[in-house]
Symmetry: C2
Subunit: 369 residues, 2 copies
DNA sequence: TTAGCCAGCCAAAACGTTTTGGTAAACAGT
DNA sequence: ACTGTTTACCAAAACGTTTTGGCTGGCTAA
């Protein structure tokens, strides 16, 4: 016998999960109130008597009622979730810097009671991932990280007029919310400390200069030079597109190939640590005949304690930045606040015994401009 | 003048985001068709003529219509998203093993077109995080990883009768879907190889034996002993609750404190690598007078190439496991398939020149039981 | 007493889909 | 010509909330 073949779905089959969850309707029936009143009681409206509100709250507690998010989403046009589409270049999600920000974001999402929808998108298909997500209405706003100078994702999101927050900044930073540090100012200060202690040949071991943060850092170092009227060649610029693995060692090796280099400024404490093998190998000593300063992002799974007194640190925990990101984004999604930028605090932690030029042993803390 | 104080919400303020998205209603109007027909055309029902379907598809294409997920969620009772509530013990999301699984999960989510809702929950509050998520209806199913022998999260989820998949296994593995490797079999095989090559004192550097996987691995080693009638003290058991950082070095140091140990079996390639410093320090040589075997999880950000010919590896990429997890979970959510378990393939990669006892230099590959 | 106000409640509409249960027209078989 | 089947469509209900725009009855002020 042939099956009749009408109304057969090609795709999704409807599963038969048993749903006997308690809805607002059940509560209304049980309490002899209207749905409206239940809803308004729970949402803090003032036109519900205190007595009734307590009855409702009690009923909610004992029934375990939790409003159905899907229904809320539909009617409020809010999803109560945030999207983060991470560029999945090699190692991106393994990068300890990312992990640190991620941890902060997760924590803040929990306290703000937002869901985080995380995805990894290939670079080329990224705007389409945003596009789809927006048209589907699946999140209220996005987190964008590691912007490039004029980042196409940001162009797209600005155009789509959808809330987002950037970890970092690029050219259009007045048009969106961002959380960042004063990269230029910090590196200007660190390089300045070195110059002011008599160093005349230093190396900058920078991150990937395709990204805005690294460009700013280089600019900061340049500013320190110009401010003092020093020659351009007093800095050896080094950078890497692969900040994990061997970069710290190799770039340090390159930096020390010129024996007149007396100070190295690192863009990350991981590279600074990795570089120590090359320092020893070159017969140099950090905190002895070599000054080392580095940006410290407060990576909790990297143990810097052996270097606490040998390196100078500019410290600004990325985890805090992660939390701020969520706060800023939620402010924008929920209360429609105008774009705002936040420069995270930086504390300077000055190495002892670091001077190679007979100048005062202690660097004075600097205030990032 | 006093403000009238009626109907003031305490919490959420409704934002005024401009919504001019195209809905199914717009399409229906424009095409002169009913909403039903549009919906059915798009969902692959056979009661729409091919001609009409093409018109619909074309209109969708040019209008950029994307069904509103919130509405779909409400009516279908499906969210098309998966939840992963990760225990946020120290270093959990920084662990390279996790990162690898995560990468696989993300990739599979993209191909399956599922959203991943990721959260970090403190151990104590975990079941309540699941509970809330379930009652809110915010995901279709959960990923659970690193089970303990009788894991309370699994108890809870079984009880809640909600789809989930476990990376790993514990006592009740017939009741849920899981993806795992044959931990006992693999470690039985590796230890067996060592014994069969004449080693009589070996060390097991295991992971955290609070977790099922590590317990299984120890059992596997024990089985190898029993099978050969060897004395129990031919294995030194070592394990750590902090597999990152110094554990590899320290445990190796401990293992080699007994100079009669001629082989070390590691639970992770990271520990094996970290242990090399201690090996050198003890004046021993991996692949020379010390046999080293390790589980290799295919961590892509760990460069094992220096050890390719010195260590023996049992290899099973965690990324693949991540992809399987999603496949298994989607099968369960979408098609309500019964629980199924999957043991991932393992390939053995045998070190050369590893024998310290004058026995054949090549180990023969073993089939994990 | 009466108008006005306020506190406290509610019915119904709306959000944007999917699904149910049809109908009308065309076609086929007798 | 009549009956049944098939094709191609559709109106309305449903999903579970929030919000709008009421209404009622009691209190206050004149």
């Amino acid at each position: 016998m042939l099956e009749k073949q009408t109304r057969i779905r090609r795709s999704k089959a409807r599963g038969g999960r048993r749903e006997n969850r308690v809805t607002i309707k059940d509560l209304a029936r049980d309490l002899g109130l209207s749905i409206t009143t239940i809803s308004r009681a729970l949402n803090g409206y003032s036109d519900v008597s205190e007595k009734t509100r307590l009855r409702v709250v009690e009923a909610v507690r004992e029934s375990g009622y939790q409003p159905n998010r899907s229904a809320q989403r539909l009617v409020t046009q809010r999803t109560h979730s945030l999207g983060w589409i991470k560029d999945e270049r090699a190692g991106a999600i393994a990068d300890p810097h990312f992990v640190e920000v991620f941890a902060g974001v997760l924590r803040a999402c929990r306290t703000e009671n937002y869901d985080l929808v995380f995805a990894a998108g290939h670079h080329s298909s990224q705007t389409s991932a945003y596009d789809r997500s927006i048209r589907e209405h699946s999140v209220d706003g996005f987190i964008v990280d590691l912007p490039q100078p004029r980042d196409p994702r940001i162009s797209f999101l600005l155009d789509a007029d959808v809330p987002f927050v950037v970890h970092g900044r690029e050219s259009r930073s007045s048009q969106y919310s961002w959380v960042d540090i004063d990269n230029a100012g910090i590196f200007k200060a660190l390089a300045g400390l070195m110059f002011d202690n008599g160093h005349r040949r230093i190396a900058l071991v920078n991150g990937d200069e395709h990204f805005a943060y690294a460009i700013e850092r280089r600019k900061g170092v340049n500013a320190a030079i110009r401010q003092r009227g020093l020659p351009a060649d007093c800095v050896t610029y080094l950078s890497t597109t692969h900040p994990m693995g061997l970069a710290g060692y190799q770039l340090t090796e390159q930096a020390l190939a010129d024996p007149s280099v007396t100070a190295i400024l690192y863009s990350s404490s991981i590279m600074a640590m990795e570089g120590q093998a090359a320092v020893s190998r070159a017969g140099r000593v950090a905190g002895g005949d070599l000054a080392v300063a580095t940006m410290d992002d407060g990576l909790r799974h990297v143990d810097l304690s052996p270097y606490e007194d040998l390196f100078t640190f500019a410290r600004s925990p990325l985890r805090d930045a992660g939390e701020r990101l969520v706060d800023a984004l939620v402010a924008r999604c929920e209360r429609d606040e105008p774009p705002s930028g936040k420069e995270m605090d930086v504390t300077f932690h000055i190495a002892q015994g670091l001077d190679s030029a007979g100048l005062p042993k202690k660097w004075r803390p600097a205030k990032a401009a």
